[in-house]
């Protein structure tokens, strides 16, 4: 787990048009729809069911943070979710960017609380960083915040039949 993102990767990808991009209002009733969308895309990008639900959870937590802290629970403000497949180094995965027009905060302040202190609330950032491989918060150029999250899919084992056929072809 890391909360650092390669600047080169971020810069390069930032100019690629998103494969999926949706705008929703900051109303909690739309959280379930956002989760279903992200989970379904993650499934097609090579994640198993449990991983998809965890990725959807990370997105849910990021959206809740925007609604709760960024927009002070206002339900009529915009949030954008953008998705890209990850194809770096021959692997698979998903890149998720969530943007808003909420008040800007110091990205360094986006830290989860200590888990030893058991109390209601404050778990969202910790869950996001625990689930995703890379998480980066930044201020958008004009107003609002952007969080970029990467998750790599586990490498698929080569099926026995394919490996044997390949070895036979070389022989």
């Amino acid at each position: 787990m890391s909360d650092q993102t390669s600047n080169a990767t971020t810069t390069h990808r930032a100019h690629d048009p998103a494969h999926v991009r949706v705008e929703l209002l900051s109303n909690p009733i739309y959280l379930s729809g956002a989760r279903e969308l992200v989970g379904a895309v993650a499934k097609r990008l090579g994640f198993d069911d449990l991983a998809c639900s965890k990725i959807a959870l990370a997105v849910d937590e990021a959206l809740c943070n925007v609604i709760r802290h960024g927009y002070d629970r206002a339900e009529d403000r915009p949030i954008w979710i953008s998705l890209w497949p990850l194809t770096e180094d021959g692997g698979k995965g998903i890149r998720i960017v969530i943007e808003d027009e909420a008040k800007q905060v110091d990205p360094e302040a986006m830290k989860g609380r200590e888990l030893d202190d058991i109390k209601p609330g404050g778990l969202g950032v910790h869950i996001i960083k625990e689930v995703m491989d890379t998480v980066e918060y930044e201020k958008r150029e004009t107003l609002g915040m952007r969080v970029t999250m990467l998750k790599h899919a586990p490498a698929q084992p080569v099926p026995e039949v394919t490996r044997h056929a390949s070895q036979g072809a070389r022989a």
Binding site: I29, L31, S53, I118
Partner: protein, 116 residues
């Protein structure tokens, strides 16, 4: 407005109050779960069982609601509180938040009845 469904049931043998939410427990539905748990705890049941068998998804809002209820249950007078019926998705968030050891968790409602 959410469409949360939360069943509350009372049993005599053994005496217990069972709170059983259904569907998704997230930011839009957790206030209703919080209200149901507060009402249940206010009646000082012999034990409180939170049956999550029909919960397909839970986020940190739901977790926070359960933490709040557990803290109330542990205060004087103590009310035994047990969770049960967690599916893999729901269990995962407890483990990510490292709260699976804070709660008493039983596999099923029957097990929870024996445990509480």
């Amino acid at each position: 407005m959410s469409d949360a469904v939360i069943n509350v049931e009372k049993t005599d043998n053994p005496p217990a109050t069972i709170v059983a939410p259904q569907g998704n427990v997230d930011m839009s539905t957790s206030p209703e779960l919080r209200q149901a748990l507060r009402s249940a705890l206010d009646s000082s049941p012999a034990r409180l069982i939170v049956d999550l068998s029909d919960v397909s998804y839970m986020d940190s809002s739901g977790l926070a609601t359960l933490v709040e209820a557990m803290r109330t249950a542990k205060s004087s007078p103590r009310i035994p509180m047990v969770l049960c019926g967690l599916n893999d998705t729901v269990r995962a968030i407890f483990e990510i938040a490292r709260l699976h050891q804070f709660f008493e968790i039983a596999p099923s409602r029957d097990d929870a009845m024996q445990t509480a």
